[in-house]
Symmetry: C2
C-alpha cells in the first residue's frame, strides 16, 4: 500500500480483457448466435472457456522469440481451429472470420465507461493490453472509452508479461515508472508490472470466468485494492 505517501500518479494503464470488458459473456453470445442453427445444443460458455484457455499458451512462441510477433486476431484464429475440432464443429471461412471478430464486439463491465471518463479528467490513460491497436480501437469505440494513446502488445511487438511491454508504455508516457499505475484484475499482470517499477491497482472481477470464478482479491502485494473502477477513482481522488 502507498500509505501516507504523496500521490505522484500521472498516468493509468489498463489491462483490457477481464479488467475492462467481459470477454466471456460477449464471446458466449456471438458463439451461440453464429453456431446455434447447426449446433442447437452447443454450450457457448464452455466454448468461450475452451477458447480462452488457449490464450496464454498461444502467445508463448512470440514471448520466447521462436516466432515473430503476430496479432491477437491471428492467435485467436489459430486457437479457434483447435477449439472447433475439440467440439467436433466445422464452419465455413465466413463464420470463422465472424467468430474471430467476436473479440472486437465485447461489452465493458457496467461501471467502466463512466468511471474511465471520470479518471481521464485527472490522468493520462492508455490500454496496455495484449490486444492489438485495431482491436483496442474497436472496443473503445463500442464502449465509449476514450484513450490518450494505445500502448501494449502491438506498440512493442511482444506480449505481457514480458517486461518490455510495460517499460515501453512507461517510456511512451514520458514519466517515471512509479508515476504510472497499472490497473488489472489479474495478479500475474500486476506482479510483472511491479517488477518493472510501475505502481499497481487490483480490480476485483470475481465473475470473469463465470460466477465466482475470477480474482476477488489480489494474490500479490499491490498499491491499491479496489472493488471496481469507481472504487479506484474514489481512492485516487483522496
Amino acid at each position: 500500500m502507498r500509505g501516507d505517501e504523496a500521490m505522484p500518479i500521472k498516468a493509468l494503464v489498463f489491462d483490457v480483457f477481464g479488467t475492462l470488458v467481459d470477454w466471456r459473456s460477449g464471446v458466449t453470445r456471438d458463439v451461440e448466435r453464429l453456431l446455434a442453427r447447426d449446433h442447437p445444443d452447443l454450450d457457448g460458455a464452455s466454448f468461450a472457456d475452451a477458447w480462452r484457455a488457449r490464450y496464454q499458451p498461444s502467445m508463448e512462441d512470440v514471448r520466447t522469440g521462436r516466432r515473430a510477433w503476430v496479432d491477437l486476431d491471428a492467435l485467436h484464429s489459430e486457437s479457434l481451429d483447435r477449439v472447433l475440432e475439440q467440439f467436433g464443429i466445422s464452419v465455413n471461412l465466413e463464420t470463422r472470420h465472424a467468430l474471430v471478430l467476436a473479440w472486437h464486439r465485447l461489452d465493458a463491465w457496467p461501471e467502466v465507461p463512466d468511471a474511465l471518463a471520470r479518471l481521464r479528467e485527472r490522468f493520462l490513460m492508455a490500454p496496455v493490453s495484449n490486444g492489438h491497436v485495431a482491436l483496442m480501437v474497436a472496443l473503445a469505440r463500442r464502449n465509449r472509452i476514450q484513450w490518450d494513446a494505445v500502448l501494449g502488445a502491438e506498440f512493442v511487438r511482444d506480449y505481457k508479461p514480458r517486461p518490455e511491454v510495460y517499460l515501453s508504455a512507461v517510456r511512451a508516457l514520458g514519466c517515471p515508472a512509479v508515476d504510472v499505475l497499472m490497473v488489472a484484475c489479474h495478479s500475474s499482470d500486476l506482479a510483472a508490472a511491479a517488477a518493472c517499477g510501475l505502481s499497481t491497482a487490483h480490480i476485483a472481477r470475481p465473475d470473469e470466468h463465470g460466477t465466482g470464478r475470477g480474482e476477488a482479491k489480489p494474490e500479490v502485494p499491490v498499491d491499491f485494492v479496489a472493488t471496481d473502477l469507481n472504487d479506484l477513482a474514489g481512492q485516487l481522488s483522496n
Copy 2:
C-alpha cells in the same frame, strides 16, 4: 483526384507540425518569453525558423540506420544547442529544458479542434507524425483533440518519410491502405504516403513558415485538395 469512385475512406491519419498545429507562432512565443530578459533584441521567429531548419537533417541518421531511434525531444535538444551557438546565446539547463518543451505547448490552427471532432464522428483518427507519443498526447490534451490511437514515429521507431511509418499505421488500423487517408500540408509527406498506397489529402497552410511561406497548393497529385480541415470534412461528407 478520386472523381466518381465510391468513397471507401475509413480512417484519417494526420501530419501534425504545420498541418494541425502552428509550430512557428508557438515556438516564437516561448523563445521570446524564455530568452527576452537576457536578449531583448532577439527575433524569436528567426530563432524558430533556424531551429526548424535543422528538423529534417536531424532525423536523417535514424532514417539511414546509422543511429538507433531517439525521440523528437532528444533531436530538438541537440538542434537547440546548435541554434543557441549560432545566435551566440548561452542558457542554463533549466531554460534549455523549458525551450525543448515549447514544442509540447503549440496551439492548433483555429479550425482544427472542431473540424477534427466532426471528422471523428465518421472516421477512425490517428496522428502519423514524427512526434513521439508523449508529445502527441500533450498537444492533443492542450488543443482538445481526441485520437483513436497514436501512430507514427515512436510506434515504429523510424521517421517519415520512411515507408514503414505509413505502412505500420495502415496495419495497425486494420484496413486496406487505400482506405486510409493521409492528411498533410507538405507535398513530400503525401508523395511518400501515396507511394505506400494510402489515399492523400492536401491542406493549405500558406503561412506555416511565416506569411506567404507555406504550401498553398499541393506540388504532387493528391486525392483531395482542401483549403482547411473544414473544407476537407465537407468534401468527405459528400
